[in-house]
């Protein structure tokens, strides 16, 4: 038995599903934000109470080493910016490859996208770190690849695949009438793509692109596993320099958490805001 269509519209089984509903976005209100700060301070205080009087308190230790740790954090952001730049440029190319009219190009780009999207970031990072030589020689010119450059390339690979998907999704989401109108005005395919389709897509691509950026920033700490001296490596070294007291672990890593949170949360809020503003439906 099927319902008549007008009744089905009035009594839906489920409403249309949208992942990011605008009204009740996750955000910290003043209350929960204050709660978070208080718990952080309390936490640091209990940790320092455990430490006793003879040794410097936890907050003093963090204050003492904060400049070094923040330099490490700046290095993380530098890596993420370069990885994003590299990944966006190559990803744009790969995304256009996914939309190519030539079958082989489409298939190769599809395979590349799938491989780099489905492999864990850490595995890709290992891949680049171990298989790219530390320097190459072209015409007697030695080009060195320090480890952080290799790490950047390692992060750029998954970014590339994700950006390619974003580009493809954005282009596919445009109404086909745009293509038809461009054709009617005698634009070539390339002109249509670069002058009509892609400019309209920027608006749609920006929020997911910023999401990817926030993901990359959070992934840059993986570089510490392969020996790049970024924030997490420095945190471990600072901990060792302070005598390796076990009660220092939580505040030091907590400080790292805080730095990343303060950087990524505003980006996330901004992304959500842009998403709301650009909502076309």
């Amino acid at each position: 038995m099927t319902m008549p269509p007008d009744l089905r519209d009035r009594l839906p089984v489920l409403l249309p599903f949208r992942l990011c509903r605008s009204k009740t976005q996750h955000r910290l209100g003043a209350g929960s934000g204050a709660l978070l700060c208080v718990s952080l301070v309390l936490f640091a205080a209990t940790a320092s109470a455990q430490a006793g009087r003879v040794v410097p308190s936890t907050l003093q230790v963090i204050a003492k080493w904060a400049p070094l740790l923040l330099t490490g954090f700046a290095f993380n952001i530098l890596i993420s910016a370069f990885a994003m730049l590299l990944g966006t440029i190559t990803g744009l190319g790969l995304g256009l490859g996914l939309l190519s009219e030539l079958r082989p190009i489409r298939q190769v780009s599809w395979a590349l996208t799938q491989i780099f999207r489905n492999a864990p970031w850490l595995v890709l990072l290992f891949f680049v770190m171990f298989l790219v030589p530390f320097q190459i020689t072209i015409f007697n010119v030695r080009i060195p690849f320090p480890d952080w450059v290799k790490a950047t390339v390692g992060f750029a690979l998954p970014v590339m695949a994700n950006v390619a998907e974003v580009v493809r999704g954005a282009v596919k989401s445009l109404p086909s009438t745009q293509w038809e109108a461009a054709e009617a005005l005698a634009f070539t395919r390339r002109q249509t793509m670069w002058r009509i389709i892609l400019p309209q897509c920027i608006k749609r691509m920006l929020p997911p692109w910023m999401n990817i950026y926030s993901l990359v920033t959070m992934s840059t700490v993986l570089a510490s596993i392969v020996g790049v001296s970024e924030m997490l490596t420095l945190t471990a070294q600072v901990h060792a320099a302070e005598g390796g007291r076990p009660e220092l672990f939580a505040p030091l890593y907590g400080f790292a958490l805080l730095c990343f949170f303060l950087y990524c949360y505003p980006i996330n809020l901004w992304t959500a805001q842009l998403e709301r503003r650009f909502q076309t439906r």
Partner: protein, 248 residues
Amino acid sequence: MDAISGWFQRLYESTGFNFSIFYDSYDWNRYVSGLKMTLILSVTTILISLVLGAAGALIQSGPSRLLRSLVNAFVVVFRNTPPLVQLFFFYFGLGTMLPATETATGMREPLLNNVGWAIISLSLFAAAFNVEIFRSGIEAVPKTTIEAAEALGYTRFKAYCHIVLPLAIRVCLPALNNNLVNLLKTTTLAYAIAVPETLYALKQIWSESQNVLEMMIVLLATYGILVGVLVWLMHRWERAMHIPGYSR
């Protein structure tokens, strides 16, 4: 089995491609135990994160403001900090604060070992995303359906378990699928606290046998297959849960 190992042995002798795990039983056992650990990690974290996500979404639609803001803070914090730092924070920071016993030989025996902390930390990380996903699924359930359940005398919890959640899961399956694949990939982070999962096992093998490229290929193939299996299972589940007459 012998044919396979013989073939890989000959491949090594003739071309130098050393897939040692396929003919060396010691390496093979290490690889399989690594694979088992990855499976244990992924299955437990997926289940725990689903339960936590559903519970978080229930609390978020609940009446208590305090609980709501707590869940909110949890989601915001865990979504916006790197999972690796979370893992270190839990394992090194909290792990050393927990009381520990001593073994007969005087070694420190912590309450939770590294596998336990990896499971907890990864589950919490994925649960933060699941709360968000389930919540948007719940928003797709019409208010009239919940009112009908109330009229039939369901309590809020019962209505959630029997009516709201089953409907919500059906709409948010694609998003959930994405997050679970992500979680499977994130289990590699457990490498950093020396959980002997696939990456760890293969790293050991390639440091001993000097066959980095070959083991890297095995590693990529392994994760490709694992992700493929998970996606296939989730698609089957999606088809089985399909609501007749409801499609987008």
